[in-house]
């Protein structure tokens, strides 16, 4: 049934463009993008608060494009982008009174919404939230619920809305989905959501225990041409840059309390080849890696929140 509240496309449906170069897999013109960073080097994060004045708090987050994407941008040859870089906007509305119909709550009621823009991913997204978007919303809520001092606002609600303008890829576009495949891009998106939401909540001056930051680590097996691939631990992986991601983990981490409010680990992490003196099990190493990545994101977050605070002080001074 056609959606009566939107403008619908042709009733027969349309098909995404098929490129000649992807039809004959033998001669893929552009190869897989290569990771140019060290295994523990993070992508730069652009994070700015207060761009959306009508909201109580807001933040805009953008990942630095990977080397291959930056190259493709500066001198475009192919219309197929090699990879993509996360871009998202987060707004916080509240605390505000709960609707009349809601039941009594002694705490702040947190609602999270994550929605991809239709043009955010390689495949066009629908207008109605799908299961992965709802999943992200639930994960984000668990990540934030433990941080906010909720009892300070009884009978109130807090709406956190994230619009993803550009998402991370789940795999390199030339790869067929294989056994290791999972929506790896979602993991990166969640980390970005957590960091941005944290900045927006701070910008809305909601009391928090700490600045929660998101970080991603993954165990990947690629690069080596020989048949015996050595799975390695990498921080802040871009799924487009790896042939096979064995497992990945995202954490929401509170640095000053050394606590984790949300952890999401996927895949098989038992085969990680760590250093000789490293006695940690695979998943320990993975979580430690994700925490390290979160620490990195935290430094950016702290800077953005400081800016937000300065702006607020300036506003208050101006109002006097």
């Amino acid at each position: 049934m056609a959606d009566r509240r939107r403008i619908n496309g042709p009733p027969g449906g349309t098909r995404p463009a098929v490129f000649a170069s992807s039809l004959n897999t033998a001669d893929t013109a552009t190869g897989r993008p290569q990771r140019q960073r060290q295994f523990n080097e993070l992508r730069k994060i652009f994070l700015k608060t207060g761009l959306i004045p009508s909201a109580s708090g807001s933040a805009y987050l953008e990942y630095e494009p990977s080397a291959s994407l930056a190259a493709a941008r500066s001198s475009p040859k192919s219309l197929i982008p090699p990879s993509s870089a996360l871009k998202l906007a987060c707004t916080v509305h509240g605390p505000k009174p709960l609707p009349r119909s809601a039941t009594f709550s002694p705490n702040l009621v947190l609602t999270t919404h994550v929605k991809y823009a239709p043009f955010a991913a390689r495949k066009r997204k629908g207008h109605i939230r799908d299961s992965s978007e709802r999943d992200l919303g639930v994960h984000l809520e668990t990540a934030l619920r433990g941080v906010i001092v909720a009892e300070r606002w009884p009978k109130s609600g807090l709406d956190i809305t994230i619009t993803i303008l550009e998402a991370e890829d789940d795999r390199w576009w030339g790869d067929a989905p294989d056994s290791h495949d999972a929506p790896w891009g979602m993991i990166n998106v969640l980390a970005g959501c957590i960091t941005a939401a944290s900045a927006a909540i701070a910008d809305a001056r909601i009391d928090c225990l700490d600045l929660v930051a998101g970080g991603v680590a993954a165990i990947v097996s690629d690069e080596s041409e020989d048949s015996e691939a050595k799975p390695k631990l990498m921080l802040d992986t871009d799924p487009a840059e790896h042939k096979a991601i064995l497992s990945a983990c995202v954490v929401a981490y509170l640095p000053s309390r050394d606590e984790i409010t949300e952890i999401w680990l996927k895949g098989d992490c038992s085969r990680a080849m760590l250093g000789a003196d490293d006695k940690r099990s695979g998943h320990d190493a993975l979580i430690d890696g994700a925490v390290d990545a979160a620490r990195g994101a935290h430094s950016v977050l702290a800077e953005a929140v400081r800016e937000s605070a300065q702006r607020f002080v300036g506003l208050a001074a101006g109002a006097q």
Binding site: A2, R4, R5, R6, I7, N8, P99, R100
Partner: protein, 249 residues
């Protein structure tokens, strides 16, 4: 040309209703008004000192869509300014206007409602009058098409509208104010001024000032001004309704 025909209060259930037929555009609209009514579901959204006007447009042979929501908004904004929503009994209540296309072509996807707009707002006005909703003034409206050679056609048929370079729907209050203008298609301001003058003449007749400063109306090529049609429809209905009284010795 054949002028529009209208009937007041054809329905029994609604507080007020009207049907309106415009032969040249082929549109036939049935409208109903329920006012004042309680709108319990929107208690939070109601303005405390004013009535809430709601307009619903139902296409004749297609499901409603975004186009209907848009034209509803236009009609609502126009009428909300005329309805005296702060009168006794109207504050915090709703004025619900429902307009259904029961004859003529439906509007396609991405097409404008311009050709139907005058019929819709005339129906809404008559239905409001039939429901005795207090209004600050009445109005009349028309739609004009300008074709490539600059010719102006009054109330164009579907074919004429499709061939036009620009379409203009205008509404004038009973006191001569420009209440609504919706123009689309390429045109320049001089054309619009011509259209404006013609539309004013259609709605109000040609205004001529007599020597003693009174404003008199004169009929011209466009026949009886539309303002008069609206007035006559209401007068006819009144005569009918009060026949028992007036005919009594």
């Amino acid at each position: 040309m054949v002028g529009p025909t209208a009937t007041l209060t054809p329905l029994s259930r609604a507080d007020g209703s009207a049907s309106y037929r415009c032969p040249s555009t082929g549109s036939n609209i049935l409208g109903s008004v329920n006012a004042p009514v309680e709108l319990p579901a929107r208690r939070d959204a109601l303005r405390p000192e004013d009535a809430t006007v709601e307009v619903f447009v139902k296409p004749g042979t297609a499901p409603g869509g975004v186009g209907e929501r848009y034209i509803e908004n236009v009609i609502k904004n126009m009428l909300a300014k005329l309805i005296l929503g702060r009168e006794k009994g109207y504050a915090r209540r709703g004025v619900v206007i429902t307009l259904a296309t029961i004859g003529g072509e439906s509007v396609g996807r991405g097409d404008s409602y311009l050709t139907l707009l005058p019929a819709l707002i005339h129906t809404a006005l008559l239905a409001l009058l039939s429901a005795a909703v207090p209004l600050s003034m009445t109005f009349s409206a028309t739609v004009l098409a300008v074709n490539a050679s600059g010719e102006i056609t009054r109330e164009p048929s579907e074919k004429e509208a499709a061939a036009a370079t620009s379409l203009h729907a205008l509404a004038f209050s009973s006191k001569g104010h420009l209440l609504l203008n919706e123009s689309q298609g390429a045109f320049d301001f001089d054309t619009w001024e011509k259209v404006h003058a013609r539309a004013l003449a259609i709605c109000h007749g040609t205004l001529t000032r007599t020597s003693d400063g009174d404003v008199a109306m004169a009929e011209d090529v466009d026949g009886q001004p539309l303002e008069g049609t609206v007035r006559e429809t209401v007068e006819d209905k009144l005569h009918q309704d009060y026949a028992w009284k007036t005919d009594a010795p």
